[in-house]
Subunit: 344 residues, 2 copies
């Protein structure tokens, strides 16, 4: 195949007149050699055009430098941006990523975890997992989850509760007559339930009339369109002439809602305000830029990898001290005011 | 750390009363054993709860089952959907993916390729590469590129020329007075230049008045907005009262164009038709669903992996026959008619 023959430790030993053991020590424990000898070997590697074989090195020291990632899909902007940011931590941490698309299917996730373990990953990041966190904890490798139930494992999440409060306070500051929250009927144990709770708490605290719609199933774009059309018809009727402040669970749905309102009323009606969640692309690309609660995806990604690296480093110590309790980091969201809340 | 001790070939040999060599043959060349003996060993693996160590296996047979992927980013819908589809080929081909974000930077791409080679990847898929294809060909490993200049390497691309023809014919069928193509000033050697050429050829063939704007720089959303606003002002003036059919290079820009027109004219003006490219999410999520030329991303991804697997399998033969010429597969795009071309 015209490939160059690989340069071996033997070749390097001959070229430098060191023993093979010395060459091996250079790769696995360089500090055991004098600086001068390190330099001689380093120069030889360049002269011989030596290509490192990481697979061989792994066998020597047991560290694959692999992190496994499982995520539901890459169609959702949130997941693809998160993966982009996680992969970019390579520059800081040097870990390589083996990635699987789990399709939110428990059995797929399990078989991908088996495959990842066979490759001796040093740690696992799993987004919006469907396997219970108790089972994940039983895998006995460093794990960090993002989103979903995280009782038994480390996690990094947006402070969803604070996000819900921020969105609700923004709507409240515009003196809405009625505040509305639209979401799916999410599990109360899931971190994202914080958005619902934040909305309810602020409304109760400020004695604001409010209503919660937890019936979005959101399987497809078309379903969401149909469900939101019905909600709009309902709101137009029930709260006619009243100023309606809507906090909706994500920007994709906020955009659908906005388009329905504009098509129905020929313009964005004066009596509606909208706040979405995620600060995803669509919130900027919508015909009227949408106010939203932005997740700091770069921070979440960085914290997830660094929390994982801490655990992985601990395991490499002679006497590793495992975490007593899973660590749950929360990242503050950032309220972004745009045109859908620019009203008197 | 409370981990179970790994089951070794020794343990399996003892349990089955076979030699270690036999156990090793079971993993690396199972057909050299009788079916009966294969079954005895398979049963022992279950009894002993044997966990495969792929890293050790790689050392035995040299096949990592790794495919490296380098792509510019995951913010762009096209790349994230493509990666989603590529990763999903795991179910068919069984290859695992090591992924780097190259940021369209030649030096980054080079250093990531080095890293991937150190992990003994069996093949490489690179999207929108910035390294010249001649240099990629010199790496001497199976490579498939998607998008960009591909003279010296195998590639899979949308038939951009046909896409340009499809979009132009759709506009022509609506009896537009003037046809306009908006794009960046792309390299004529790049596969995507086919979109421009297809537009020009159809216009000339049908003797249709036309104009080509190749000045989009598209660095950011804001730049694109500004540039398209200027183009709209120009078109409104230059072709006032005439029916204008616009074919624009991608859906993100088509959506910006649509929003500019609606905001300027209070509705989507009767004298404009728009066709985008990509069939990306935004074309459906726009306030008026946008007609577009859809890339068959699932097919491109599948063909890319299968073209790579063919090359990788060839190299494993005793007498591999390298490709005489790089293979360039083109995938037919699909015209999707939506509301921005629903006019008399």
């Amino acid at each position: 195949m015209g490939q160059k023959k690989n340069v071996t430790f033997n070749d390097i030993a001959k070229y430098t007149n060191f023993s093979k053991t010395t060459i091996s020590r250079y790769f696995n424990n360089p500090d055991s050699l004098t600086l001068e000898n390190q330099e001689i070997i380093a120069k030889a590697l360049v002269d011989l055009d030596y290509k490192e074989n990481k697979v061989a090195r792994i066998l020597a020291n047991g560290n694959t430098e692999f992190i496994g990632i499982i995520l539901p899909n890459l169609f959702n902007n949130y997941y693809s941006e998160m993966l982009d940011r996680i992969l970019s931590t390579y520059e800081q941490f040097g870990y390589k990523f083996l990635i699987f698309i789990g399709n939110e299917n428990e059995d797929h996730e399990r078989s991908y975890i088996d495959e990842l373990l066979a490759y001796k990953i040093e740690g696992l990041i799993i987004l919006s997992h469907t396997i219970p966190s108790k089972e994940l904890a039983g895998l006995q490798i460093p794990i960090v989850t993002i989103e979903r139930e995280d009782t038994y494992v480390c996690s990094v999440n947006t402070d969803n509760y604070m996000g819900g409060c921020q969105a609700t306070c923004l709507l409240a500051s515009h003196n809405c007559d009625i505040l509305i929250h639209i979401n799916s009927s999410c599990d109360k144990k899931s971190p994202t339930y914080g958005r619902v709770q934040g909305f309810i708490d602020i409304c109760q605290e400020k004695h604001l009339p409010h209503e919660v719609y937890l019936k979005m199933t959101g399987d497809t774009y078309e379903t969401a369109q149909k469900q939101l059309s019905e909600i709009v018809d309902n709101l137009d009727q029930k709260y006619a002439g009243m100023k309606k402040g809507i906090f909706i669970s994500n920007d994709t749905q906020a955009n659908i809602l906005l388009n329905i309102l504009i098509k129905k009323h020929k313009c964005f009606p004066e009596d509606y305000l909208i706040v979405g969640f995620d600060n995803s692309l669509i919130s900027r690309e919508a015909i009227i830029p949408i106010s939203t609660v932005g997740q700091q995806i770069d921070k979440i990604a960085y914290e997830a990898v660094s929390l994982l690296v801490e655990q992985m480093n601990e395991r490499k110590k002679r006497r590793p001290v495992p975490l007593k309790e899973p660590v749950h980091k929360v990242i503050t969201p950032i309220l972004i005011r745009r045109e859908t809340t620019e009203k008197e």
